[in-house]
Symmetry: C2
Subunit: 240 residues, 2 copies
Amino acid sequence: MKRRLLLVSNSTLHGGGYLGHCQEQIQEFFGEHVKRILFVPYALHDRDSYAKTAREKLRSLGYEVESIHETADPVEAVRRAQGIFIGGGNTFRLLKALYDHNLVPEIRKRVLQDGVPYMGSSAGTNVSTISINTTNDMPIVYPPTLAAMGLVPFNINPHYLDTDPGNKHMGETREQRIQQYHEEPDTPSVLGLREGSMLLVEGDRATLLGSTKARLFTRGKPATEHTPGSDLSFLLTDGV
Amino acid sequence: MKRRLLLVSNSTLHGGGYLGHCQEQIQEFFGEHVKRILFVPYALHDRDSYAKTAREKLRSLGYEVESIHETADPVEAVRRAQGIFIGGGNTFRLLKALYDHNLVPEIRKRVLQDGVPYMGSSAGTNVSTISINTTNDMPIVYPPTLAAMGLVPFNINPHYLDTDPGNKHMGETREQRIQQYHEEPDTPSVLGLREGSMLLVEGDRATLLGSTKARLFTRGKPATEHTPGSDLSFLLTDGV
């Protein structure tokens, strides 16, 4: 399988600029053969402004950006893409737009069959997994399904947040929310990517990158911690 | 309209017991004529344990509890209920169960036409409004729609949380999430109920109760703050 994915937890790390904390990994990932990246800004309302931000940053790293919302035919844009980057924002809005534009099967095909490199950040990471069941976002719109592109056979929780024992707010902690997901039958593993971390997938190999550990939740088992550099390829063995 | 609702932000306030912070309002609300309350535990996985918790607390306040999950016919249980209480947990799981058991039209009829008092807490408050578009919960299951019971013509965000300027986590703030909802067309007002606050609705009168202020978000307008005791009846004028 030619699959190549860079799944980033968060677009901006506290104190840094847009994509600043992962720019080396981005250059390593897209390399020198990719000249032009197709950007998908559907997760935010102001697509023009979002495309401008992404274009400026990626241009500084040596890539031209085509924003899918500026193309006449989004499916055709995916068909000729050298690389794809789906940015963060609201995951429900993003997934609904991907279905509205008939992009889910097309992106899946390009990434899994043609080996087009796919980068996702936050919501763009959520939609690359089995489903958006473990997004943190508010359900501001109703997508036709929570099933996503299934580029990997598990779920991710981006912006994973540790429980703060001093917090007086009584909403569920992130860990409790993921445990509630695993109370439902047949639910896949959930990789909690803390801000600063990202997952690199190359074929059947998955490696944790970045500056923070990740927390893995598997139904019926205790959660486990994984340090940057860890080989997480076992997560891919369920097949896609 | 006979409608009587007590919509509580949170079941437990930091440092207090289950429903401790709103027990006076509960007694005032259900009064002495209601002897038996129908409890709906669908938002949590362990319904037996949840019913036990609710039963113990409400019994201490003078009410017997029938838990809907112990009845042979949930719709029939709603038809003969003197009072209804839907507890918190996961809003997606709760709404899906209400639809699965065909309870949405029945509860709506009992509350709006027959004047059966309805209390909701957290997720139980979300499902009483127009939709669950402004829940904070993780979408662990996929309900057939996000439209809810529409006992009031606006939305509520329970456990409303102020932005903490010292926070280094880069996920959207609660206010940003609600603003993203209002970027979508034709979205209703959202009442952000901080923990400790609740809304009492009696016919066409709505009053904020509890110990904390509420923040009201209206599409295209600046957000406004409202102190306990405020008359919020204007929120009801859109009709149900």
